[in-house]
């Protein structure tokens, strides 16, 4: 079991550029979550997919952020026109179903300069 895989592990992008982060959930897990981690805000929920369908995006900033899950083996989080305040570690997690234990990836550290 390889666990949740996130790529890239580190990304530095210039202000105004686009950043795309990838997540491969654990095989057989139907629920995928995205969280953002910063020192100031801690772990913040962004969005949730179940069986690839978007279920809850209540934590997503309304502008510039979007997430997709085109197939059961990967999800993407895209940030358009990145800003310095988007700098954070973006964590993906999966679980067997929505009521089960979340398994986190190691995260993608985004730095916007």
């Amino acid at each position: 079991n390889a666990g949740v895989i996130q790529t890239p592990r580190h990304k530095v992008t210039g202000k105004g550029q686009e950043a795309t982060l990838w997540c491969e959930p654990i095989s057989g897990h139907s629920a995928v979550f995205w969280y953002r981690q910063t020192i100031v805000q801690g772990l913040e929920f962004l969005t949730y997919f179940r069986n690839q369908a978007p279920i809850d995006d209540s934590g997503m900033p309304k502008e510039r952020f979007s997430a997709q899950m085109p197939n059961q083996s990967h999800s993407t989080l895209k940030i358009q026109s990145t800003q310095p305040q988007d700098s954070a570690v973006y964590l993906c997690a999966s679980s067997r179903d929505s009521g089960n234990t979340l398994y986190f990836g190691e995260g993608s550290r985004l730095i916007v300069v």
């Binding site: 666990g3 949740v4 629920a31 979550f33 969280y35 801690g42 772990l43 913040e44 929920f45 949730y48 179940r50 279920i55 809850d56 964590l91 679980s95 179903d97 929505s98 009521g99 089960n100 234990t101 979340l102 398994y103 986190f104 990836g105 190691e106 995260g107």
Partner: protein, 114 residues
């Protein structure tokens, strides 16, 4: 909405001493709590999860008891080790919504010194 409060931001203690990390929560639904631990540059990992009211759960020397009367799920260990240095998060599952998403507390950074 749901919320979780961890009162200690930083805890430093000597190896072999006991530790208690506070966690209180607010929810209008049935509470289901977790403790996650995150070592430096690693993924958060589940440490333990709540059981029924007033029942203690244990894992890897850590233990916690859900107390609905006080809306608490404090984490304890009787004798900390150097390897326990990490960031600890208390989390509450959304049992009233569709996702079962977790709401996390602010986290407690634990540093164990020799």
């Amino acid at each position: 909405g749901d919320s979780v409060t961890q009162t200690e931001g930083l805890v430093t203690l000597t190896k072999g001493l006991p530790v208690m990390l506070n966690c209180t929560y607010q929810t209008t639904y049935s509470p289901f709590l977790f403790w996650y631990v995150q070592h430096l540059n690693e993924a958060p990992k589940l440490l333990l999860k709540s059981s029924t009211d007033n029942k203690r759960t244990e894992h890897q020397g850590f233990y916690a008891t859900l107390h609905k009367s006080s809306s608490s799920f404090h984490l304890q260990k009787s004798s900390v080790q150097l390897s326990d240095s990490a960031l600890y998060f208390c989390a509450l599952r959304d049992t009233g919504g569709l996702s079962g998403k977790l709401t996390f507390g602010e986290g407690t950074q634990v540093t164990v010194i020799s």
